[in-house]
């Protein structure tokens, strides 16, 4: 392979398709390279007759510098996108920075020209042979499998508690029914639930799909979670739907009901008002502290309650606490990774 911009594009097999005979059109200085903004030779072809035309998007120099296909911009060796590849290289400690390159147009052009000079002067020898590339790929994959094996999911670290004075506490809790129940409130305007105690990563669509599964109907209007304050609201399409959800959920003591959504434990009760309050960042942090206290309080209470109920019958059941650790996603992979 010689270094010539005009003769052959460097594209991957997936882009070329299965047919070894392809008709390509070549346009010299046909477009500006998407990476270095210099003009380059554009090749166009279609894999199947009548299909969309594929074309090269970046110049050969950029493609070679990044080891990517000129058309799909995926890594030539592994077929993954460059960002992920760089991330993996970082994980395997083969390079420590995510390569950003120059941001300014002039410096982009300058860097690319320098690279091109280097590649051209290197000639045939500077191009890695097939064997070399294969060896490098093996090395990378080996260290990758090690990295995957060793990688442990970091535990969620709880942010520090804020100090809350009593006055502030009363002011904040006025809007948030931490002692609410699942008994329908008097005001018929209220058609939403109050949630609290979930973790940092609970997604709103998960909460929505949980309640929709519960109702067996797409009648959840909106979910809004304040992840800083660890509280949120679910709004149903009508009061009757909300009441039905409450009856489906309600059981046992008159405390907010414990619900587990996607390994996240949280408590649910009726919202106190039809409008949801809003908090500043510092206020949200204070609410978080209250949420934490309440979660501990209810956990303790329910444990006692369980004891009282089961005292005469059998030994006390262990209470369903917050799932302590998320199951590691890669523990199962240990066996099938022996490469």
């Amino acid at each position: 392979m010689s270094y010539n911009d005009d003769e052959t594009p460097a594209v991957c097999e997936a882009c070329l398709g299965s047919n070894p005979y392809i008709e390509m059109s070549r346009e010299k200085k046909g477009a500006e390279c998407k990476l270095c903004t210099r003009p380059f030779t554009v090749f166009r072809w279609s894999v199947k007759k009548g299909d969309r035309f594929k074309k090269t998007l970046c110049c050969l120099t950029c493609a070679r510098a990044k080891n990517c296909c000129q058309s799909c911009m995926l890594d030539l060796t592994f077929g993954i996108d460059l960002r992920t590849r760089d991330q993996l290289l970082k994980l395997t400690e083969q390079s420590n920075v995510l390569d950003l390159g120059p941001a300014n147009q002039m410096s982009k052009i300058y860097a690319a020209t320098q690279l091109e000079k280097k590649f051209k002067s290197g000639g045939q020898d500077s191009i890695e042979s097939v064997e070399q590339k294969r060896q490098n790929a093996y090395k990378m994959l080996d260290s990758l499998s090690n990295a995957v094996k060793n990688k442990k999911i970091a535990k969620e670290t709880e942010p520090e508690d804020e100090k809350v004075s009593k006055e502030e506490l009363i002011k904040l809790c006025k809007h948030l029914p931490f002692n609410g129940t699942l008994d329908p409130p008097k005001s018929s305007k209220i058609k939403s639930f109050f949630l609290f105690g979930f973790g940092e990563k609970l997604a709103e669509y998960r909460v929505q799909s949980y309640f929709e599964d519960l109702l067996g109907d797409k009648k959840v209007d909106a979910v809004s979670l304040n992840h800083r304050g660890r509280f949120g609201f679910v709004e149903f399409s009508s009061r009757t739907v909300a009441e039905r959800a409450a009856t489906l959920l309600a059981d046992g003591p008159k405390t907010p009901r414990l619900v587990v959504i996607d390994t996240d434990a949280l408590r649910v009760c009726w919202a106190g008002k039809s409008t949801t309050p809003s908090f500043s960042i510092s206020e949200a942090a204070q609410v978080r502290t209250i949420v934490k206290r309440q979660m501990i309080k209810y956990a303790g209470k329910e444990q006692q309650g369980h004891k009282r109920v089961h005292d005469t019958a059998e030994q006390p059941e262990p209470k369903k606490q917050k799932p302590e650790t998320k199951p590691s996603k890669y523990s199962s992979l240990g066996q099938d990774l022996e490469i």
């Binding site: 005979y21 799909c72 060796t77 960002r83 991330q87 990295a147 304040n226 949801t276």
Partner: protein, 316 residues
Amino acid sequence: MSRRPARLQLDPDTVAVDSKPPQTGEVFNLWYSRWTGGEFNGRTVAHSAHRCHPAKDSGYTKADKDVKPGSVNRDKFICLYFARGYCTNGRKCQYLHRLPTDMDFFPHTVDCFGRERFADYRDDMTGVGSFNKVNKTLFVEKFHSMDGNIEMLVNKNFGEYGQVERTRVVKSKSIAFVTYRLESQAQFAKEAMYGQSLLKENVQEALNIKWANEDPDPVARKRNREDEEQTALETATKLLKKMEEKIQRVKQREEEGQHEEEEEEQEEEQEEEPQTIKTLPAPQPSSIFANKSLDAIKLLQKPKLASKLGYDSDSD
């Protein structure tokens, strides 16, 4: 997906030939159907007359002939006009009339509508976006009022177009951030919510939507970094699994080869036997190893040679 035809969003007969959006600049750009120039240089957003309602509008079109339900879609794109709520083709449209899902595979050089993406964002963070970054977060501005259950309203409106992971409303600045589960959902919602209002009757409101910059909050930064690492690791495990399958296939072939050595049928398989079986076989897109692509083109240039030499030969 339900098997019903896509609804016609806008009757073509009702569209005037020279219809233009409300004038917000001095010069009308025919290509982009936007006003430019003037005091605000066309940056004013006009309330959109149409809106996409996925629940009633989506359905099969001509594009679905090739995309069977349940299979991964690799070459069809979503209709941009459908997302904006004014596709006049209905079920005769050559593009998909539905929300992007997990089953869609869009190359990262284009967005879910098939428009080419760029290396960098525009300076004002509008437009198609960048292929160098996976951005699932939209920046929303130009709210008319921040009263009432604004978080709920934002979630309800943006939830129509995909699975919303988190919404954050900054009341003091009248802006909001909406994060989706998939990047394609964010791309769709960006087009669908542009120039819309949170309440149907509020014609004064026209939301402007841009791509969000990286969240400077340290907690969010950490979360994003972890997410990114997680997805990278997932791709790595997928990659490794693929390799393993390949190794097993090679081993199987080897065994078969030993059994049927006398029959001399496995010419191809024996050719493909790698020299170092104990380490790893060649990874999937092996073009750079084999340089088949280059050979193919060389052969193209010398068609007579090609027929003589065949595909595998190294002509130079």
